[in-house]
Amino acid sequence: MRPEYSLILLTVLAGAGQGVFVFLATGDMSGFSKGSRVPPMTTITGLGVALALTLAGMAASFFHLTHKARGIKAINKWRFSWLSREVVLLPIFVGGMVVYGLLYFIGAHPVIIQATGLAGIVVVLALFISTAMIYGHLSFIREWGTAYTPVNFTLTGLISGWVFGAAVYQMALAPVGATLFNLRLFFVLAIVGLVVKLLYYRRNCGLYSPTTIQTALGINHPKIRLMETGSAYPTYNTEEYHYTALKEKRGILKGVSIIALYLVPMAAMAWDYMAILSGGLAILAPVAAISAMAGAFVERWVFFVEGNHAQNHYYGNFPAKIRPNPILQSGKKDAPLPPGV
């Protein structure tokens, strides 16, 4: 699929904003449970970062729409459309962040604050799933239509947000207890995220597609060749669903995204963790934040361009990576049998 840069910006930036919120909420919860709460101004600063990231993502998403003034109508079908659910949840999340910040500002009772934080985390998870399921439920785009998609979107957002949150904590000199707790959580998230990503990339190698040129045309013959597309110039069908830029380099880009999104932040955070324990200088979180954001952008770009739409069969643009017999694949979880088998 052709990568829509406004959507890459939206999913990466808003995802990071959601991650920062979860970081701040869990950080304060751990501080609260340990009796050394994070100073309100630190959390409010962090919320400002989260708000800025989310609003930047939302602003980018508006460039995706040709009729921006009608954007409000996109809440109409929240019962059916994941996109509509995302549009409903995004303002709820932003409003929730503002309320959460105000509670700190007026010095509300800690229990109320923690309850609001918990509710916010639920909204964030629902928002991650809504965003990812826009792509995840398109089952005939086999690279997208998998449970890996929502899991990957959630973990990527949390990881890239976490490093931003850690940078805020470092600059505001948050209490050691909350910082250490969140750093330990970061390693869990990053390792799980890395494993999920590697499994996801492995799954997408040589993926079986139940749709073939034979089912697309309804002609049962092994040799079918496109003679003409019916148009002398590129059309919407050949440009929107098929993207060949950097086709040979996508494997390298996947490696770059893994290094920038997981390995560099993990190394930087490990340095910081040891530095905090030994009383040294913990200053590498901003480096991790920049690296993770770059990695997340590359990762999302690869995600979009790797999607192969079923209609590409009609235009000879579907890659020839076909598993031979679906019945032989029945032992494999990700190879659904065609209907009737």
């Binding site: 459309s81 002609i219 590129p234 059309t235």
Partner: protein
């Protein structure tokens, strides 16, 4: 016990579902259906199908009906198949539930899938959700457009009754396209689907398209070779008796006696 709510019973009279049936056996690939579609719809009720750079080098524009050509088989056993493709007006149209603004909808009265251009925000989600690639984005108007099944023709009382069909059906010189209600068992399209083995594209995607295609057909005579020989001999014998000039006839048939 898990089915607390019984599934809704289907009524005997199914709702109307208008659709096209395209006969690949007779389609000659002349692109008349595509050209008349563009011509009718660009001057029809729904506004133009815009072209970009129409006289320039990289011309592109919105078409509802595109025709591809495929080579099936290898020389000498080869056939060229022309394949017109427009919106399938799916029964379970995947483009409809994904539309966040309700701009895309399926009409209950006749099953036509339409786009309300006043509600479309141009997010292109429906075109991603359509497995057939039958929706085209109009970059000039900023809305998604698609085949309307000529809804502005088929109910137009000012047209003669036999012309109240989609423009492509009217234009096809090979009469490869027919139009009607596929849920009415007595309609022309239903008969064609039944009698000529009409099929749906990409059944595995679950979209349940309303448009059907009729396959290539060849007339084959299946005969048992032994039976043929016996019958010919019998025929020869009979002819001999009746004509009384058997030798000449046998040579005429080219079979040694």
């Amino acid at each position: 016990m898990f089915c607390a709510i019984p599934p809704p019973e289907r009524s005997e009279a199914m709702t109307k579902q208008l659709a096209l049936v395209i006969d690949l056996n007779t389609c000659v690939g002349c692109h008349a259906c595509g050209a008349i579609c563009k011509s009718w719809n660009t001057s029809g009720q729904f506004g133009p199908l815009t072209d970009h750079n129409p006289y320039g080098k990289d011309v592109t524009g919105v078409w509802f009906n595109r025709i591809q050509t495929y080579e099936v088989g290898e020389y000498p056993d080869v056939e060229v198949v022309h394949f017109p493709k427009s919106c399938m007006h799916c029964v379970d149209a995947p483009c409809v539930p994904v539309c966040p603004t309700n701009a895309t909808y399926k009409r209950e009265e006749d099953g036509i899938v339409l786009v309300n251009y006043n509600d479309c925000i141009g997010c292109k989600y429906c075109s991603w959700a359509c497995p057939y690639g039958c929706r085209e984005f109009d970059h000039h108007d900023g809305v998604m457009k698609k085949c309307t099944l000529c809804v502005d023709r088929i109910y137009d009382q000012t047209l003669p009754e036999d012309e109240r069909v989609p423009a492509c059906v009217l234009a096809c010189p090979a009469r490869a396209r027919s139009f009607g209600d596929i849920n009415d068992p007595e309609s022309e399209v239903s008969r064609a689907i039944r009698d000529k083995m009409g099929y749906k594209l990409m059944p595995e995607t679950g979209a349940n398209p309303a448009n059907h295609y009729l396959p290539r057909r060849k007339t084959h005579v299946a005969l048992d070779l032994d039976q043929v020989t016996v019958k010919k001999q019998k025929a020869i014998i009979v002819t001999r008796k009746s004509a009384q000039e058997g030798e000449t006839l046998i040579e005429d048939f080219g079979i040694g006696g």
